[in-house]
Symmetry: C2
Subunit: 342 residues, 2 copies
DNA sequence: GTTAGCACTCGACGCTCGAGAGTGCTAAAT
DNA sequence: ATTTAGCACTCTCGAGCGTCGAGTGCTAAC
């Protein structure tokens, strides 16, 4: 439902003031900040109405008003306009991402660092889902007399390296054999199929050669597993320190939840493609009921891929957060696409 | 200076009680806990003496005693005995480290996770110093039509991968040429020598071939730079939340300091080989004056290498911290040595 | 050197009270 | 019908104060 212009103006002013100061907003302050040309009594009458309709609350009788979740929701849906990041801002984000383009995962790590830094909230990223990915190629690099590195390239662009050790002396010829045998065996195979039975039947098939194989087969299995699993990057967890509006026990629970890769990944897995704002108790997870969550998906090769997300106080600066999140998402997506191009 | 047996017993009991409860310890509690066969008045007399000698303080007149830094120092130097980690504990640590042995850095990351988890403090690790390291080998793995991964192996065991992109289509032959040219150029060269002038003169030397080289040369330069620089792993930064004995501003400053790779690396760089305990204001950095720092070096191939460290409250459990830190250090050092064996 | 006894100190806790901020209501003005 | 001035009201916050209890230091006796 649309609010009358003046009510909306007052609601907006309360929200923007409360976001920046954290203090309940009174009628007098409001006249200054919203540039209203009426008396404080009129504003108070309007606020009574906004309160009875559920957009505002008073922490106590003699305090100003603060927005309810419904108030934020109205603001987010009907009022807020998200300005794009400035050109300098975008250049800054792009160059920081390019500097750290060692791998898709390092780009995502840098993305979370940037988002956390620029929004002053906690940022998250998930790697592309590897459920339906297949092995594109396996390569080997010798690193020592008894050690080598397996490099697994998956069809979703994820690249995993894994060191392994053999009892015998590794030679280029042996790596050549590994390369040939394993690419024949694994190329085009789903990551999820590279499990213990697969490895065992492979070992059986290689016959006497399999004596040389246990280390490398384990390495491939583990690399495939970690390429398949969604992994979670985090940055700015310590910012949760400063969420003084929540009590210490709730913060602790929140931190424990956000530290758990599995929980975070399964929460994000369900998020849609578009930027989504979930305010306070709109969150399904109890740990998040005093926080807001903003998520978006980055695109790799034109397809929606992993998630970038921000967790912060309900009174976070939504416009700023969204513009930064979307800018980082676009830049990171395009750099990753460029980097993993077939 | 050695204290009389009973004084030492009382001091020890105060410290161990205070470490576990965080409450000032009174004379009555002390009789129970220390198993002393004297009256509370006698204990009080002894405590007056320990206080006047600077080992204990009273937060206020009618409170029990808490240890001073000098008290902790005496305890650490003269009383404390560090029991080795149990066999099961060591097995647990070893298996967790082996599971995550993708690279030397992932072992160190896992080491900090373990230390933080087991000590309930914040844990740090630095990678081996690359100052005097040289390039042992450079390899290439094709990842796409226009992209490839450079793998740089340094003499200190550090392995860095870096993706790069070329405008032209990459073929195995081109990577072969890169491999030959760059190993000829770089093998045995100090990491610190791979700088912009080096790259430029290299490009000049390759003549017309150099047109194909900018991407790969940049990748090598950046890989060498990051292999040379000491990088810092952290775990359990959110535990700093619970250091309630310090005020919020000081915690914030501490967090800012500990988040800065350069500051942390240069602090640890100076640490000796042996396990070192630095209590409160013994720390040279102001940010650390309300915390204690425990550091040790892990050994790679028999040589002291990077640092493992714990930052926690002055009233941390030193014996437990040290035994865990040393156990993880030994395990991580030997696994890294195994993994990077030439 | 040790102990019982005792007066003393000081923080924690709870209570009251005044100041100040901001309200809701009423009645008059537009 | 809307807006406004005026005013009584409510509630938080902080200061000030007394009580309670833990734990002390001192003294005199053992």
């Amino acid at each position: 439902m649309e609010l009358a212009a003046r009510k909306q103006k007052i609601l907006t002013a309360v929200i923007e003031n409360y976001i920046s100061t954290g203090e309940p907003v009174g009628s007098k302050t409001l006249i200054e900040k919203a540039g209203l040309d009426v008396s404080s009594a009129t504003v108070r009458n309007e606020m009574v109405d906004l309160t009875s309709r559920g957009y505002l609350v008073q922490p106590h009788t003699s305090a100003g008003r603060i927005p309810t979740e419904q108030g934020y929701r109205y603001y987010v849906d009907n009022v807020m306009s998200v300005p794009p990041v400035s050109n300098e801002g975008r250049d800054f984000i792009e160059s920081r991402l390019y500097e750290n383009a060692d791998s898709p995962e390092s780009i995502l790590k840098t993305a979370t660092d940037l988002i956390s830094e620029l929004t002053d909230c906690t940022a998250f990223a998930t790697t592309p889902n590897g459920e339906n990915s297949r092995i594109r190629k396996i390569s080997f690099v010798q690193t020592g007399a008894h050690t080598a590195m397996a490099v697994l390239i998956a069809s979703n662009g994820i690249i995993k390296t894994k060191l392994f050790r053999c009892e015998f002396i590794i030679t280029p010829e042996i790596l050549e054999i590994f390369d040939k045998a394993l690419n024949e065996l694994c190329a085009g195979v789903r990551l999820s199929s590279i499990n213990q039975p697969f490895i065992q039947s492979a070992a059986a098939r290689f016959g006497e050669l399999s004596l040389f194989m246990p280390g490398v087969l384990m390495a491939i299995k583990e690399a495939a597993l970690s390429a398949e699993q969604v992994s979670v990057c985090r940055s700015g967890m310590t910012k949760l320190l400063f969420m003084t509006q929540i009590n210490a026990v709730a913060i602790r629970r929140l931190v424990e939840f956000l530290k758990n890769d599995h929980d975070v990944a399964s929460l994000f897995e369900r998020q849609p493609i578009d930027t989504t704002i979930t305010i306070g108790s709109e969150n399904s997870r109890v740990e998040l009921v005093s926080s807001s969550l903003v998520t978006t998906r980055y695109f790799v090769d034109g397809n929606p891929s992993g998630v970038l997300a921000v967790v912060g106080p309900v009174r976070m600066n939504y416009t700023r957060t969204i513009s930064i999140l979307e800018c980082v998402s676009e830049c990171a997506g395009s750099i990753i696409s460029e980097l993993i191009e077939i």
